[in-house]
């Protein structure tokens, strides 16, 4: 049941990667677009691609919808993968070691401070409209990221006691 839609959806991360590489390599202005927004767009394009490809093969609305849902799951996985390459601290430590030969003792204690963390994240939070700068102070805005944060922190409390 729904085998074709499932298999097409399964290949979404590969489709995302191809779209992503093509966009960055062929469209110079893409570097001016916030990277997270572009990655979401890439994942949505892969979902539409899966939907249309499943429809063109099976001519079944339900199976095409299923293909799109599976594609969305794997597209979301791709989005997180990209985010990890951007901001994950453990990944940063490993990549700096293999790419630059730097150990945390060489660089991270000096270079990776709370100031760095804020400088990297505040512009992204402003771009996505999650926070707003009012009279020199940052204010949280109601939206999906605030809801997601509350949900994740509740979820965390199931596993960890702070």
């Amino acid at each position: 049941m729904f085998l074709m839609g499932s298999v097409i959806g399964l290949f979404s991360p590969l489709v995302c990667l191809i779209f992503h590489v093509l966009i960055y390599r062929l469209w110079r202005r893409s570097h001016q677009i916030p990277r997270q927004k572009l990655t979401v767009l890439v994942a949505l394009c892969a979902m539409i691609f899966s939907l249309l490809l499943t429809w063109s093969i099976t001519h079944s609305e339900v199976e095409s919808l299923h293909g799109a849902i599976v594609s969305l799951l794997f597209g979301y996985t791709y989005f997180h993968w990209f985010n990890m390459s951007e901001t994950a601290r453990r990944v940063r430590v490993l990549v700096r070691y293999v790419a630059l030969g730097l150990t945390p003792q060489d660089s991270a204690r000096d270079a990776y401070t709370h100031d760095t963390v804020l400088n990297n994240r505040i512009p992204r939070l402003l771009e996505t409209g999650t926070i707003k700068l009012v009279d020199g102070k940052y204010e949280i805005q109601r939206g999906p990221l605030l809801f997601a944060t509350r949900l994740i922190l509740f979820w965390r409390s199931l596993f960890y006691v702070d």
Partner: protein
């Protein structure tokens, strides 16, 4: 179609329940769960595969793997107290804050390097026997995969 989704979701929630019990059982006093990545893969990816061996249904397997991947990619952000989440949470709890006030709260909440090194060691991504920092073979592989990924996209290394 609904039976397929109920079956995959059922599988997912069984893995989630097992994870909550396991985490509470093996969590160390400092909050670290040894082999966290391995356990996540076993529960959320190997679980559906084992289920598939007993009741072969490729569509259900792919759907369950998709749900598992979403979960595995989302969990570290919660487990490692992602700074982005902390910033949002601080602004949510304390109201409007300046950058210096945020920095002060972050100083109290997050250890930027030491906590991550501790997690890397607990996951077996760093050689714990070596005196100096040295990633294990798996740690180096992960580092190379992400490095090449950024190069393929033509982007600089992530800034953390």
């Amino acid at each position: 179609m609904l039976s397929l989704y109920f079956s995959a979701l059922g599988q997912f929630f069984i893995s989630l329940g097992a994870q909550i019990l396991l985490w509470r059982a093996i969590r160390r006093a400092d909050g670290v769960v040894p082999g966290q990545i391995m356990w996540l893969f076993l529960l959320f990816l190997a679980g559906p595969i084992v289920h598939f061996l007993f009741a072969p249904d490729l569509s259900r397997l792919i759907l369950a793997l998709g749900l598992g991947c979403v979960y595995i990619m989302s969990f570290p952000a919660a487990a490692a107290k992602s700074p982005t989440l902390l910033i949002i949470d601080l602004l949510d709890r304390h109201g409007a804050l300046s950058k210096s006030e945020l920095e002060k709260y972050l100083n109290a909440d997050v250890s930027m390097v030491e906590d991550r090194l501790r997690d890397l060691k607990a996951d077996g991504l760093v050689d714990t026997r070596a005196e100096k920092f040295r990633p294990s073979a798996t740690g180096r592989l992960i580092g190379y995969v992400f490095w090449y990924y950024r190069r393929v996209l033509g982007l600089p290394l992530g800034e953390g």
